[in-house]
Symmetry: C2
Subunit: 587 residues, 2 copies
Amino acid sequence: MYRTHTCGELRIADIDKNVTLSGWVQRIRNLGGMTFIDIRDRYGLTQLVVDPDSDKTILSAINNLGREYVVKVKGKVTERSNKNLNIDTGEIEIVIEDLEIINSSEHPPFTIEDDTDGGDELRMKFRYLDLRRNKVRNNLELRHQMSIEIRNYLNNNNFLEVETPVLIKSTPEGARDFIVPSRVNRGNFYALPQSPQVFKQLLMVGGFDRYFQIVKCFRDEDLRADRQPEFTQVDCEMSFVDRDDILALFEDLSKHLFEKIKGVKIVDDYPRISYKDAMENYGSDKPDIRFQMTFKDLTSLVQDKGFKVFDNSEYIGGICAKGCAGYSRKELDNLRAFVKKPQVGANGLVYVKYNQDGSFKSSVDKFFSADQLKEWALEFDAQPGDLLLILAGKKDNTLRALCELRLEMGERMGLRDPKVFAPLWVVDFPLLEWDEETKRYYAMHHPFTAPKLEDRGVLDTAPEKVRADAYDFVVNGVELGGGSVRIHDSALQHKVFKALGFTKEEADNQFGFLMDAFKYGAPPHGGIAFGFDRWVSLLAGEESIRDVIAFPKNNAARDVMTDSPSAVSYDQLQELGIKLSPDSQKE
Amino acid sequence: MYRTHTCGELRIADIDKNVTLSGWVQRIRNLGGMTFIDIRDRYGLTQLVVDPDSDKTILSAINNLGREYVVKVKGKVTERSNKNLNIDTGEIEIVIEDLEIINSSEHPPFTIEDDTDGGDELRMKFRYLDLRRNKVRNNLELRHQMSIEIRNYLNNNNFLEVETPVLIKSTPEGARDFIVPSRVNRGNFYALPQSPQVFKQLLMVGGFDRYFQIVKCFRDEDLRADRQPEFTQVDCEMSFVDRDDILALFEDLSKHLFEKIKGVKIVDDYPRISYKDAMENYGSDKPDIRFQMTFKDLTSLVQDKGFKVFDNSEYIGGICAKGCAGYSRKELDNLRAFVKKPQVGANGLVYVKYNQDGSFKSSVDKFFSADQLKEWALEFDAQPGDLLLILAGKKDNTLRALCELRLEMGERMGLRDPKVFAPLWVVDFPLLEWDEETKRYYAMHHPFTAPKLEDRGVLDTAPEKVRADAYDFVVNGVELGGGSVRIHDSALQHKVFKALGFTKEEADNQFGFLMDAFKYGAPPHGGIAFGFDRWVSLLAGEESIRDVIAFPKNNAARDVMTDSPSAVSYDQLQELGIKLSPDSQKE
């Protein structure tokens, strides 16, 4: 038997017990002849102590020990004279009576400590050692706990977890699909799913009523920051529901998680902000509403007053930074540099200090009187001591730049506490997005999203005005999930396909079997998919989803630990009926 | 709102309630002017009733209804005069006050009933309609319940579910790997995992202590009966355990499932039968022990008595079929035909009837006296009225044929009740298997399986004699899972690689990163993987795993509903840096 207890289990009440523990050597200290060894497992750390008068075989074994050696010890639990109340086992220690080295260890390439000396690449290459660190393991324990809570919550609400296929049909439009050659069906390919969308809708047609799945999805694309080629979704679908039924249920699920996982009880209903309002007030469809500082549109107020920059701008708007009128020239220069960064993209920054004494100081004093600036301040509901920060330019770009500026100010003003969670629903997304390059509309969500009832009348005449019954779940500026009510009526679906510029043939070719299914009594249905990696990283307080994935890939979609992807043999390709193009062989 | 209640919810206590229900039209009957409509959802069936004096719009809507139409009805719950106690809602009916047709349905290609008129292929093509049948849905509900029970059980036992990658390293030996070309790393390929074996061992090195995952695995091979290219495993691994710790825990898990899912309480420890005994007594490493009828080896007893067939056989053995001495000539001929089938492969069948009056009648009366036959009967512990069935030939073949004969007799004698569960562990498998074709040993389980401690001395000298710490979990003749204690010691691992004929380079090339990981303090560990599809189908009482998979593929690895796998465009391949071989293009 390797152990009677784990390394995190023994307490003062266990004193005088004879125990066996196994674990990794964390630290060895020699103090005045006594040797103290900390051994570690997933559950904690326990101190062992060896008397210099111990049996020789024990003493010699201890001389051979090193960090990360695996040992099994037998001994008696005793009370520590020098207690460590920072750890659960800190009141006891084990007086070693027998010690067996189960496995030795080479010197690890970085320290297995909360604060490690290993860099990112090194820790990825030796991920199995990185996984021994509390921080990494805690994240994965949190992930496990969240999946258990989500599953039990949905099970209690009559959802069935159904596994949908991973080897699915490859469609010509699946530009970011991974494809998989079939040996049994030579020359043919499966695709890996970007989401189980079609299958979950088929399950609704099949009468499953409530479906969910925590499931891997795949996207083969150049990786933007913090994306993974394989990622996990909490995928859900319900029948005989409208939008508000869906939002109510998943709002409750998220409240359940906040409470169970973080101990944060949220009583109020989540705000619901329309896409339009989100864009106008926060410049983003995933606003961080831990703080307000919403945009004010100053366009009509400030134009035609002789300041060319404003007069030539489509939009002028700004934010009010409470209590920041004392910002120094250096701080303001710094903010100006920030908004001019290519990622932000503003041309300049106008500031107005509403000083404590009621006077105004601005970067446009030449063009605007104190009375005019007071009018602006009124618009912002500003108080003496506040700072107005104003951007101007093309509307879209300016809203986007203001969004970055607002977040930056929120950061500087300490308004983005990671321990505070501010969830909301963004609703009423546009159904369609116009693409300038291909001169056609694309579905903003996906082609099965239902247009809002009150907008269906203009689907043929003004499709750009049609809003969808689509929604995103946003927390602290992070989009954690999104979904929609689906179209269950073939006639409406064909209308939407038409608005999307699909010919009947194209629609049949891509979605034929789903359209066929809809002929046999499709129920009203809708659903949502949550980005599980992102949800876990939010609750773990991590910046990157890589920190909550056991074996992540890097930004080049490579696993540096196993050195994957890699070349395969000519024979293997031959058997699959494929070969490398000459240009990819050269690489 | 689409419903206040589901179609399976209303009871006599709900009488006089005004309710709204939605569902599919199961049946419409017109009896003496009254119209009765059964509507169905996942939760049950509810009878609606329409008075001939109802509102005209309702009557006209009802005239337009057909099977599988989706409707929403409002009405009052009333007591039925003609109760149907076979269904939970059979005491009530809804008097319709309003009826809305939500969706129409074409006439379904087969009836949506427990006993359907649809053939296999048709039901697969319209799987979304097949899923509406109670039988299919019940199987998937059972699957869901099992996954919930397994997860909660393992969670309560400190197991963490960790997601391992689906896009993994492709190895040259991965003959049955699906491979996935990478767009981002052109000319390189991932593989899909046949199991997460290496990753779960890395998690043990990483100190995760107890891991599990319910996970999709993949195998690209010609499909034997009842295999799927993607299948689901319950994959588990534990540290600081020996074999008996592992068996105890998973035996308890399986008992928990039998009780929770089937209401079957198993108190006794499961039998543990060595591979050797299983082969000698049942001719199979997955014996069905719902009944005994074990083999007796008669070789020494019956040879050299002048019967050439026996004298020229390596092995003569048989079974005793209790109470079957009354078998007619026709029945015996029938059995002889059975054993001579190519799938069974015996040359002939010797029978001995131990008649009720104590006399003997056999097919070898010419060669053996009644006294000799009595000796045989004694060997079997046979009683008057029993029938001995004896096969002779090469030992391996004869054991295999006897196994088939035993199962056939068990079937005929009604000893294989699907409601009875007879689990066992088969242990002490050989470490290695000799392959005549390639003239080398292969790992019977996998190369990381630990040889039994007491056999390690002969690893170099008599590798064929070495038994492994490997085990299979078998129920009713079906192998539901298998696993082993792993090697955690590099020196022993290299010895095993050597016995397997790997050069150091080959071992490094294939398992390098695992061997690297083992240098840093690998703990003793072991685990098991269960075939989840098979486990569900056993508890569902289904013959095929396809019946417990929502969207299965057929024996040609095709999804006939979506027509997958399929051709992909030249452009798509071009982007991935591959092209079709000329011979696969022709297909």
